[in-house]
């Protein structure tokens, strides 16, 4: 009894002491140990069965994929020929350089979703930046959907959730990193577009394009000024607040996300004060116990802001940067969109959830919204070109610091890193290097004409860093999702549809109308929503459909022919290069078919769908000059804006496409290419 009843400490020590003297017990212990080992091995085998089948090449090979959004192969080739991109030229000599066929349409969310899944848009369900809900005709952002909690309880003015809200990734299909993980190949994915919210399937991911700001938008700035710009109420993507200086001080309010815990869902806010010294051109912002002292034309570091939802119980934290645009003669303060705080994310911007705080802890806070560049502020003249470049430079420096960290940490499997700055710069600065552009000015050309080239040179540095991080077992692939073209003329697709009898119900005397409030749907044959998408008003799909399934093919082909024949009355140029029938170019699944457009408009070089038409508006005239700072674009025909592909191995495929790169990633690790993928390895 004395031996059987001692404390557990004694029990664990006793065998060591007694076993040499007791052969019988030693044998028993041996058997028990063997049994334990067997059980562990069996359990291990069971746990790996069906979950992880380690690729034999997983331990040997490594792959770095660098995504540079919008890098144009033609322009790139010219600079390489001039010896201005030494790293890319070296990579070309090691392996190869090709144009890379983009998707139909060549838009970033669509193209990167195809890269992620190896499928065409019919497979992954992302057809455009903006799609429409067939049951309501209303537009929505195509990448993600947010749903409030299904069950709530009301207590006075408060609406307390009993279940969780949901943020859903609308991209369908299987991501390549999930296939890799199933075969034991680890991957780390930084900022790839069309991946918000990242799915927690064991791969480290940080969301990219598609990740919203704290308000749930693609970026809404705040601007406080003693002299608000004219037509400030027409500004989208930001808000202007008139302020006045009293006793050297300004009191203002920074607006946060909607407070969904309140029955009226008012916007949350944080009050702040600014002390102004006009003589010394300084100001101090005092917000939530934090002081930020800035000189005129200075940017602050990240400032965390807490927005109270339920007093003393629930709040969300965001981060923003302040820019003191002017103190004298007039006070002007710009505040960036409020980003999700990576130290305490209010939205699922990373998977696993701890990945974003881990990065922030090592690198400091960083931009978390998918588009960190404040293009809306530039377009509306809130920031000038120099100020915008400074802001986008801050975002680029942050991204680069994270990129260097990612390269240093990379040890096995696949590392994917994405930069958006290349795309944004080309959108905004085409007008500075193309004297044919309606927004071109000689002064602009002299001052900012090199920005475009500098953006390619910076990309070359990134490639150089990746090459340095490669050892003999590492392969490097550099790709872009599309190229670039000028955006000279805006085409109002819905206005053209109205003038040609495809869209009905509009009063022609009205300067601007929306299809959502003015269309006579029963008489409407087709409508446009999104940059390239054209929908037939189908009886078997839309609530007030006018086109029967039997007529669909005939009408679609007639409409496509009409569009292809279209000429610009001012220049005589073709407006549209090609029109694709979706049924001819997409392989649908059942759940992606209803959201697909029926026709995809491939605009000719120099043309693009007008912003108004993208959102369903009908405005005069049909075609006009584009004088916007948004002066370069790629939402045209895919044959005109291919992406680029550079690789450290010779490229065998003569005309590779995005989905081929996905297949190559799997093939690099000896994995079979799934049937649903349309691509083939490029070597």
């Amino acid at each position: 009894m004395a031996r059987r009843a001692p404390s557990s400490k004694r029990l664990s020590r006793a065998p060591d002491r007694e076993s040499p003297r007791d052969p019988g017990k030693r044998e028993t212990l041996k058997k028990l140990a063997a049994l334990g080992l067997l059980s562990l091995t069996g359990l291990g085998a069971l746990s790996s069965c069906g979950r992880r089948l380690t690729s034999p090449l997983a331990r040997e090979r490594k792959l770095i994929v660098l995504g540079l959004d919008g890098l144009d192969p033609h322009y790139l080739g010219r600079l390489m020929a001039q010896g201005k991109l030494p790293n890319m030229s070296r990579l070309q000599e090691m392996g190869g350089f090709r144009s890379l066929a983009s998707t139909i349409p060549p838009q970033s969310p669509v193209a990167w979703a195809s890269f992620i899944t190896g499928q065409d848009p019919g497979g992954h369900g992302i057809y455009d930046f903006i799609q429409r809900d067939p049951s309501t005709y209303l537009p929505y952002l195509s990448i993600a959907r947010t749903e409030p909690p299904q069950r709530t309880v009301s207590v006075g003015d408060w609406k307390l959730p009993l279940s969780r809200g949901k943020v859903e990734l609308l991209r369908r299909g299987h991501a390549f990193w999930d296939t890799l993980a199933e075969h034991g190949v680890p991957a780390t994915i930084y900022r790839v577009p069309s991946n918000f919210p990242p799915q927690d399937t064991g791969t480290k991911q940080l969301a990219g394009l598609g990740a919203p700001d704290l308000q749930g938008t693609y970026g809404e700035f705040s601007y406080y000024s003693e002299v608000p710009p004219e037509r400030a109420d027409k500004i989208t993507g930001g808000a202007v607040y008139p302020v006045s200086v009293r006793d050297g001080r300004i009191s203002a309010r920074l607006m946060g996300p909607d407070n969904t815990l309140h029955k009226d869902s008012p916007r949350s806010f944080a009050d702040f004060q600014v002390w102004v010294d006009r003589d010394n051109r300084l100001a101090k912002i005092v917000i939530q116990g934090q002081d930020v002292l800035l000189r005129q034309r200075e940017w602050s570091d990240w400032v965390p802001i807490r927005f109270e939802m339920l007093p003393h119980v629930r709040s969300v934290t965001g981060i923003c940067r302040f820019y003191l645009k002017e103190v004298s003669p007039h006070f002007k303060l710009y505040v960036t969109p409020i980003n999700v705080d990576p130290m305490d994310p209010a939205l699922p911007i990373a998977a696993p959830a701890g990945f974003a705080p881990e990065l922030a802890d090592k690198l400091g806070r960083f931009y978390t919204q998918g588009f960190p560049q404040d293009v809306k502020a530039l377009r509306y003249g809130i920031l000038d070109d120099g100020e915008y470049l400074h802001q986008s430079g801050i975002a680029f420096a942050e991204a680069r610091r994270m990129y260097e960290h990612a390269l240093n940490q990379f040890q096995r499997g696949v590392l994917f890193y994405y930069f958006s700055s290349t795309d944004r710069t080309q959108h905004m600065f085409w007008r500075t290097m193309d004297s044919k552009h309606p927004a071109y000015e000689t002064r602009l050309g002299a001052e900012y004409g090199r920005v475009y080239e500098d953006c390619y040179r910076a990309s070359d540095d990134l490639v150089g860093e990746a090459m340095e991080a490669c050892d003999r077992d590492t392969t490097l692939i550099v790709l872009s999702d599309h190229g670039f073209a000028p955006y000279y003329r805006s085409f109002n697709l819905n206005t053209w549809l109205r003038e040609n009898g495809y869209l009905s119900g509009f009063d022609l005397s009205q300067p601007k109308a929306s299809i959502f409030s003015h269309a006579d749907w029963y008489q409407t044959i087709a409508y446009g929503i999104g940059f390239n998408s054209l929908y037939l008003n189908m009886q078997d799909r839309e609530p007030y459909g006018a086109v029967s399934p039997d007529e669909k093919q005939v009408i679609a082909r007639r409409l496509a022919d009409d569009l292809r024949r279209l000429r610009d009355p001012d220049t005589g140029d073709r407006v549209i290069e090609n029109v694709y029938l979706a049924d001819d170019v997409y392989s649908y699944s059942d759940d992606t078919r209803p959201y697909a457009p029926d026709l995809i408009v491939g605009y000719a070089r120099g043309y693009r769908c007008a912003d108004d038409s993208v959102l369903g508006d009908v405005t005069d005239p049909v075609i006009q000059d584009n004088r916007d700072k948004w002066s370069g674009d790629h939402c045209i025909d895919r044959s005109l804006v291919p992406g680029m592909l550079l690789a450290a191995k010779p490229i065998q495929a003569p005309g590779p496409a995005l989905a081929d790169v996905t297949a190559t990633i799997l093939a690099e690790f000896g994995l079979p290419i799934p049937d649903y993928m349309s691509g083939k390895p490029i070597w």
Binding site: R249, W275, N280, A283, L293
Partner: protein
């Protein structure tokens, strides 16, 4: 107050000198010290015998409720006595509380001096704020000079409405620096620590009332006739690392000092 602050701060510096290798060591020592000191104060300022008696009565009334739960009259009477003895017990704790509060304040001020803020790191920025006495010099008469290693990045931001002048400074090199604030020809120092692991960080040097000086013991008070009320530096807040998370010092101190107090009340023979 100046001598008091110097003595107390010096004593804490001496006590913690061997434990600067890791912030948790100092926190454990300070929590243990807090637990012991507060227990001792409680023992010597409370009526231990009366507290014991009150606790015994409480237990006996609880037993009464349990044993005679079928007899309503007894249970009600026991509960009334239970409430009365509880009040008596709380009353016995009031006197020691009066003695403990100043001790807790001293401890908290000293802990905050060491764990509330951290030194600036190289490249980091802070705001130096000078508060002026009303009726004294104007904001235009205040200037600032910095030694090599610190950079004054902005001109003075003058806020006449609240009699304050601010500058933004940047730390360029590790070191223990003295900034000079000059007002109407008189110079006043403010210490700034950069980079190094400093035993304590004084955010504010003040010459205002007793209470303000008590709360800011890290530097000698400003002279009583100085035209400035305080000089403050916006050091970043500090935190203690714990399993990948960061904690404000108040939580570990509260939990650890309570744990030490509970563990030591037996050996120190304290009735709490």
């Amino acid at each position: 107050m100046g001598a008091f602050n110097t003595a107390i701060t010096g004593a804490f510096d001496l006590l913690l000198a061997p434990f600067y290798t890791h912030p948790w060591w100092g926190m454990v020592v300070l929590s243990a010290l807090s637990g012991v000191l507060l227990l001792l104060v409680f023992r010597h300022t409370s009526n231990q015998r009366a507290i014991r008696a009150a606790k015994d009565h409480i237990i006996s009334h609880l037993l009464e409720v349990l044993l005679y739960r079928d007899e309503l009259r007894v249970v009600l009477r026991a509960q009334a006595r239970l409430a009365k003895d509880n009040l008596r017990y709380l009353g016995h704790a009031l006197v020691p509380l009066v003695f403990m509060i100043p001790l807790v304040l001293i401890l908290m001020v000293q802990i905050d001096l060491r764990y509330g803020r951290r030194p600036l790191q190289v490249g980091e920025r802070a705001i130096l704020a000078v508060k002026l006495h009303s009726g004294g010099p104007t904001a235009d008469e205040v200037s600032l000079s910095a030694p090599p290693g610190l950079v004054i990045e902005t001109p003075a931001l003058r806020m006449p409405a609240i009699r304050e002048v601010d500058w933004r400074i940047r730390a360029d090199t590790d070191g223990d620096y003295r900034l000079l604030v000059t007002v109407a020809g008189e110079e006043y120092e403010k210490r700034i620590v950069v980079g190094r692991r400093a035993p304590r960080v004084s955010a504010r040097r003040t010459g205002e009332g007793l209470w303000d000086r008590f709360l800011n013991p890290g530097e000698p008070p400003l002279p009583a006739d100085a035209p400035i009320a305080s000089v403050a530096v916006s050091y970043p807040g500090a935190s203690l690392p714990l399993f990948g998370r960061r904690l404000h010092w108040i939580w570990p101190w509260l939990i650890l000092s309570l744990a030490f107090g509970y563990a030591l009340k037996g050996p120190l023979r304290v009735q709490v």
